[in-house]
Structure formats: C-alpha cells, structure tokens
Subunit: 260 residues, 2 copies
C-alpha cells in the first residue's frame, strides 16, 4: 500500500467520531482526572535522508491520520517502557533503540479532543532498518523522510505530533554537536565517511570530508579503530571503527553558524 500524505477525511470531527468523543468526555466529566500517554519520535537515516517512524491511526480520533507510535501509560508502567511497548505493538520494531531519552511533555489543554491528555515524548535513534510491519492497532507503519513531512501545517499529522517531531529533530541536531549521538545512527563497524553522512543527513548540509575526518579522529573517545578495512565501494577501502566510550565530545563537532 502506498500511504497517502493527506488523511482521507476532512478533519478529526467526522461522522462516526462523535460517539467516541462523547464517551471520552463522559469519563472526563465524571472524574476530572487526566490521562498520560507516551509517544516515541524514532529517527533513523535511510538513503541519506533523516526519517521518522509514523503509524497511520486505525481508530478515532484522527483516524487515518499519520501519528507517532505511542499510547496510554499503564498504572505501574514506567513511561519509557510504555513508549517501547507501543512501538513494538504498532510497528513491529522490537529492537531497543541505540539511544532513548525523554524529549519533553506536551500538556496544552485541548491537544486531544477526548480529554486532558499529557503526552511524555521520547526521542529514540536507530541504525537503518528494514521496513516495519504495521501491528494490529495501526493501519500502516513506515519511515517518512522529514523533507516530505509538512511540519509547518499542523493539521496534516494527528494531534500536535508535527510539533513534537520538530522538537525531536532539533534536539537530535543540537546533540550531534557535543555528544557522540551520531554513532547511534550507524551499525558497527562504520567508516568515517558513514559517520559524516549521518551528520550531513541530520544537519542537512554538506561537510568538508578532510576537515571532518581530522576532527573526528582528534576527538578522544569518539571512535575506536578496529584495524579492519571496508570491502571497497567506490574509491579506496576505508578504515573501520567502533563506537568509543565518550558520550560528550571534547572538542565538539560544531555546525556552521549563520554568518553575523
């Protein structure tokens, strides 16, 4: 199935949805207690493009819309465990991300039409994967290159998920500078070129290969040589590396700043 970018209906208030909204509103009015969900922004680099894992919702509200995998947090369940559980249930991605951190919590009243919902968003990074298989609770699941996502038109993704994705991408972009996060996007072993292509995909800019190489190898604990050489592709065989032990980079690998 080729997923459509636009959802099938005109908006979240479509025929058949009013019953759901009424039931949820009843629950809320009786108890006046909130619900808490956990959502995952799972990023990967595929074909040189920074991409995010989305699912197409099978239920109201926002049925047919693309959304982040996630769902309600169980009564005694840690929120990060809930995000990983829903990830596996909805997309079949059982691999634990190479990196998972809390992004922030989205709390605006009205962000969910059913009731007050607090969503704890997590940011996860994965090496390139095969295509995910949609689970029972989602109509479809796939990685979307960020360039093809209309992030500035919030009504094309469910809830406020466009904003959550934008925040997650900005967090990832910033952390590539001063942490070793980029290595979470590649499988071991990897070449300096592989790592540079991660930076180029996440930052959306070309980097100078010679200078990048010098900076990576001059940063202690970033990468560790395996001694092996890559099976050659185009050009000379590249030396291969594993992830180093440092989590923070000193000196940092800085982005180009806008000229003042």
């Amino acid at each position: 199935m080729t997923p459509s970018r636009r959802p099938p209906g005109p908006g979240p208030d479509r025929p058949g949805e009013s019953d759901f909204l009424a039931a949820y509103a009843r629950r809320r009015n009786e108890f006046d207690l909130p619900a808490v969900t956990a959502d995952a922004v799972l990023l990967t680099v595929r074909d040189g493009q920074l991409s995010v894992l989305l699912v197409q919702r099978a239920e109201h509200p926002y049925r047919g819309y693309w959304a982040l995998p996630g769902g309600f947090v169980g009564p005694d369940e840690p929120a990060d465990a809930a995000a990983l559980r829903r990830l596996a249930e909805e997309t079949g991605v059982a691999a634990v991300p190479e990196h998972l951190e809390q992004l922030r919590t989205y709390d605006a009243p009205g962000r969910d039409p059913r009731m007050r919902v607090f969503s704890i968003a997590y940011l996860g990074l994965l090496p390139g994967l095969s295509d995910p298989a949609p689970g029972a609770q989602a109509a479809a699941a796939r990685f979307w290159p960020l360039d093809t996502l209309p992030l500035d038109a919030a009504d094309t993704l469910a809830f406020d998920h466009a904003q959550i994705i934008a925040d997650g991408v900005e967090r990832a972009r910033a952390k590539l500078e001063y942490t070793s996060l980029a290595t979470a996007f590649v499988d071991e072993p990897f070449s300096v070129g592989d790592l540079r292509r991660v930076y180029e995909a996440v930052w959306g800019e070309k980097l100078h290969p010679a200078n990048f190489r010098r900076k990576v190898l001059a940063t202690p604990g970033f990468v560790v040589p395996t001694g092996d050489q890559a099976a050659v592709g185009r050009g000379a065989g590249a030396a291969l590396y594993r992830r180093g032990t440092s989590t923070t980079l000193q000196p940092a690998i800085l982005r180009r700043r806008p000229t003042r």
Copy 2:
C-alpha cells in the same frame, strides 16, 4: 524560625499519615487514573551562592520535609501556569521569573506513596529577591544555597526532589555556555563584573576577569551598554549594560573542561 536541615520525623510513614495514604489509595484503586503535578526549580544567586527556593511541607506525605513548590495541575490549566500559581500560593513569590522552561517529567512508579503521580518540573531563574513569605499551605519557605543541600542523600528532601534539583542545576550550568541565560539572574542595569559573578556562582569556579570581559563584549547581542557608570564600590566605577537581544551566544562562553 531557623529551619532544620533534617525533617522532624523518621520518614514518610509516620503516625497520622496512614489515613492520608488510605484515602489516596482508594481514589487510585477505584479509577486507576494517574495524577499530574507541576513543580518549580526556582534558582537565584544570593550572596554569591547559587540557591534554590524550597518550602517545608505542612501536610502528609513528607510532612516537615523540604520540597519544591508545586502541586496538582487543574483540569484545564496549562502545567506551567500551575507551577507559577503554586509558587505564589506557597511562597508569596508573585514575580514572573525572568526565564521559565520545562525541565523534564518524573514518572517513576512509587515516587509518590499516595498513587501514581507524574510530575512536570519547570526551571525558573530569578534575580536576587527579598526573603519569601510562606503561604497558607507551607510551614516555611526560603532560598537554600545549593552547597548546604545534601543532594546525594535523596531521603533528606521530599519525594525525588533532590534529583529534580540536581537536573535543574545541571541544565542551568550547561545553558550558561551557549545562551544568554545568565542575564536572567541579574537586575538591569548590570556590570560585566555582576555577570561574571553569576557565572562563578553557577559554575562554582573562578573566572579570569580580563578574559571574561573580552569574551562577553565580543559576543554580539549579549549585552548592550547603557552609557552609564555604576556608583562606585571598591575600585573604579564599572560601565553598565542591559540585556541584549540574542538568546544564543556565538561564540559561546565555555566552561573549563576537565583536562584529558
């Protein structure tokens, strides 16, 4: 009253507390729904010491313990508004902090003995203030210099608030490097020396006055000269500045890194 560092009782499970716990447990067992609170880590620099605003709890659980100001979020209330509301109610601090941002959400099951509580923590920065007046719902309220807080012994503050404070301080320390956050700690107008003393208090290290001055004035948009001179204290009258328009600093004001 001189607040004691140690709470009066042996722990959160003291006589008189079981009734409260039972009532809350009932609420939770019936509906199995969580509660959401908003807590504020409010930092300021007083007498050259980085300090945090705490209240002494008047109710169970953790009665008598020092805790962050905060409380339950209203059904239609944004969480940041709840944090500011509770701040005013408990400490009398009505001033809107010069800077307020979401820190992170604390969700560990069992972090509150009553029921599952998700706490959205906020980080706020204030210029030096007069002593706060405790509100009706707190036994006492005051700024605590961080040096005097036993942050590594979690049981001396209520809930997991020692960890929340540690995270907030670390966030503030990191953001001084690449943002103009330090100016939120001083009243306008201020001198370069005032700003340097903020950095020294937050980072807990002495900075080289001449080099610091050169870096601050070379960073565009950080501070704007007023043209005035400070009423002299010890030494020459210092030039005065207001906050600039930049929020991110380029180049950054970097901390000393541990020698590798």
